[in-house]
């Protein structure tokens, strides 16, 4: 397949996702899992993708690698700065073709959520890390072993020579996650997608892994797409945060702004529902009522309408809010906040928004 050349105005942009939509055909109808997602990642930057389960964050990340199941119908553009070919729309490549395979695992790689599941129990760890190097770097077994060993040492696996020939069941969870990171980084990728890399781990191990990822990011100057639902790790890891809800990005901002002045009611709810140690004990945690609706036959209007504490009838359930920029780099999709200068969230009058909707 012939790839399209795409213009790119930003210089350092590694990945640019434009209007990504994923539909899944099901017996009950079409599930609109991702509904027009736009974001970009620069070199050396960490973008956090936050949201509850079922909001489409994992599908988005898998779409970048083209490893979603066949039934996922994906449209839009995923523009990636490939080595040698310049900007290429990954979606225009055949998902089984040669071109995407050179990207997958080499230039973009992924760390999966559960290290115990991600490894095959039948092969040694070394063998599995090697697979990547031998595909992409060298066919020479000896050399490839050296490269793999070096990476294993880099991610802090003690006794790497011995560990190399061990099977996954001989590793603990934290060590396996390190091995998984080694496998992802062995080809020096430009972009690392980390899908909840620490959710299955203990806090102490989690902190180790996060620090490790930060260090390696500095060394290799790679971009990280960090997918999680844990706002604590986001604060520690990310430069910018995109909050997803029901297949859409509802807010995107630098990490400081997200915590200091969350604009979307959903973001506010997410941050409010995390208890901070050391704050005065409130009897109740703030909680968002209800659950994420299934994205089947969605009604018009804002996807968060049913659960929102600040909804305005006649506005929010009529028109879907667009992502509008509040300040530099801080955009939000909410009728209450869109385009209102200096509004402290929700201070904007509902009247104005009503007029807009009409």
């Amino acid at each position: 397949m012939e790839e399209k050349k795409i213009e790119n105005d930003g210089k350092d942009i590694v990945l640019d996702v434009r209007d990504l939509r994923i539909n899944i055909e099901m017996d009950e109808g079409t599930l609109t899992a991702v509904r027009g997602v736009n974001f970009s990642i620069k070199k050396g930057e960490t973008l956090g993708l936050v949201g509850e389960s079922g909001c489409g964050k994992s599908l988005t990340s898998k779409a970048i690698l083209g490893i979603n199941e066949k039934k996922c119908k994906t449209t839009g553009q995923i523009v990636f700065d490939t080595d040698g070919r310049g900007m290429v729309d990954l979606l225009s490549l055949s998902p089984k073709g040669k071109e995407i395979r050179q990207v997958r695992g080499k230039q973009i790689s992924m760390v999966f959520q559960e290290p115990m599941v991600a490894f095959s129990p039948l092969y040694t760890i070394g063998n599995q890390i090697n697979e990547c190097t031998r595909l992409h770097i060298t066919k020479d077994r000896k050399k490839s072993r050296e490269i793999s060993l070096e990476m294993m040492k880099k991610v802090g696996i003690a006794n790497a020579e011995k560990r190399y020939d061990q099977y996954p069941h001989e590793f603990s969870g934290g060590m396996l996650q390190r091995a998984l990171i080694a496998m992802a980084l062995v080809c020096n990728p430009k972009l690392l997608i980390a899908d909840e890399p620490t959710t299955a781990l203990d806090v102490t191990i989690q902190a180790q892994i996060l620090e490790l990822m930060k260090e390696l990011q500095k060394d290799l100057n790679m971009a990280i797409l960090f997918i999680t639902h844990d706002l604590g790790t986001v604060a520690a890891m990310c430069d910018r945060v995109a909050v997803m809800y029901l297949g859409k990005i509802v807010e995107i901002a630098p990490v400081k702004d997200i915590y200091a002045a969350p604009a979307h009611p959903y973001t506010q709810g997410l941050i409010g529902s995390v208890h901070k140690i050391g704050t005065k004990k409130e009897e109740r945690l703030f909680s968002i009522e209800g659950t994420v609706p299934l994205a089947l036959n969605l009604p018009p209007g804002c996807g968060f309408y049913e659960r929102c504490g600040k909804r305005i009838e006649g506005v929010c359930n009529v028109k879907e809010p667009e992502l509008t920029e509040l300040s530099d780099g801080h955009a939000v999709a909410c009728h209450l906040c869109g385009g209102c200068q200096g509004c402290a969230f929700g201070a904007n009058s509902g009247e104005e928004a009503k007029k807009d909707a009409e």
């Binding site: 191990i205 989690q206 996060l210 915590y259 140690i277 945690l285």
Partner: protein, 346 residues
């Protein structure tokens, strides 16, 4: 009520070994603590530290190797859960229930929700009429926020948060006094987690429940608990009132654990105290203090002598030789303004 300092459970020297052909894993060794009625005790620790095994021993889901679990029933003499005969235990089981971690695997997919919540009743009150049982189920389902008209459905039709509510309803239907929550909210999304935590707190106030809240999530434990116990390699290393423990930890392990908690605030720099290596093998624990292989304050004495679990301050128990000497850092508690950012003490 919280002020009523009546003891409800006393766990003394609880030990659980899992012997196998070659080795013996000491999953829980010599754990002691006491719980008052209406209190929440949080148990934290890394995976494999024995917190779940401890919880299961307390409800006698698995038999403990030695020790005692003294329970003070509403009426009558205190009894030891571990030694009383099965019939009496069955009677007392109504008073102590458990909520499990995974709401997807702890509910039988072939039973309707009504049957799931009803099962404890049929098991414990064989004489009760069907109508009465259903009335009780409806009552409790309403309390935990389940839509009563959905009770005829099967668990697969419910979301994670709803399923956890079903698990809570099942535990509550017998009107227990103590509930062991084993990672009850860990599998849930943050917003749902907050809902369930609020629910647990409301129910506690309403029904004067006592919780043993087992979790690896320190911020959740800090929010919900009155007292917190920290476990390491099958032993309780520290046990104190929540604020005392978090603001001034006395055990280096507690300190390291707390420093690893990511804070939802980008202004707070993570200043982690590194823990070297991994948890040692519980079948072959290190000599002396179990923690000495990873401790930043390790001394010669720690390698040789096992520290005693002792009370250093009223209500503050620590198993460390040098508990009084270390100036360990904890969380800084803000008293005045809500929501203000906290800093970790340097």
């Amino acid at each position: 009520m919280p002020n009523n300092k009546r003891s409800i459970l006393e766990i003394n020297h609880l030990t659980k070994d899992f012997p196998s052909k070659k080795v013996c894993v000491h999953a829980v060794s010599d754990v002691s603590f006491q719980i008052n009625e209406g209190e929440t005790v949080g148990i934290v620790g890394e995976s494999g530290c024995g917190k779940t095994t401890m919880g299961r021993c307390v409800v006698r889901a698995i038999p403990a190797t030695s020790g005692e679990v003294i329970y003070y029933p509403e009426k009558g003499e205190p009894v030891d859960f571990l030694t009383i005969d099965k019939n009496r235990m069955k009677e007392l089981r109504k008073d102590i229930q458990m909520i499990f971690q995974n709401p997807y695997s702890s509910l039988d997919p072939r039973m309707t929700v009504l049957d799931i919540i009803k099962e404890p009743l049929t098991a414990n009150f064989p004489g009760m009429s069907k109508a009465e049982m259903e009335e009780k189920v409806m009552d409790i389902a309403g309390k935990v926020g389940l839509n009563v008209s959905y009770l005829k459905r099967y668990p697969h039709a419910f979301s994670g948060g709803q399923r956890q509510r079903i698990g809570i309803a099942r535990a509550l239907v017998l009107k227990p006094r103590v509930i062991v929550c084993d990672e009850a909210v860990s599998a849930l999304d943050v917003s749902i987690q907050a809902q369930v935590i609020n629910l647990l707190k409301d129910l506690q106030r309403e029904m004067n429940l006592t919780y043993i809240f087992i979790s690896h999530d320190l911020s959740v434990v800090e929010h919900i608990s009155d007292k917190v116990g920290v476990m390491y390699l099958g032993r309780m290393v520290e046990y104190a009132e929540t604020e005392a423990l978090f603001s001034r930890p006395r055990h280096p392990y507690t300190e390291a654990l707390m420093s690893a908690v990511p804070v939802a605030d980008p202004d707070v720099k993570m200043d982690r105290i590194p823990l070297m290596g991994e948890i040692p093998n519980p079948a072959n624990p290190p000599s002396g203090c179990y923690f000495h292989t990873r401790c930043r304050c390790c001394q010669q004495k720690c390698k040789e002598v096992m520290p005693e679990y002792r009370e250093v301050e009223p209500g503050h128990f620590v198993a460390c030789h040098y508990a009084e000497e270390w100036e360990l850092r904890g969380f800084h508690y803000e008293e005045e303004v809500q929501g203000e950012q906290k800093n970790r003490q340097g």
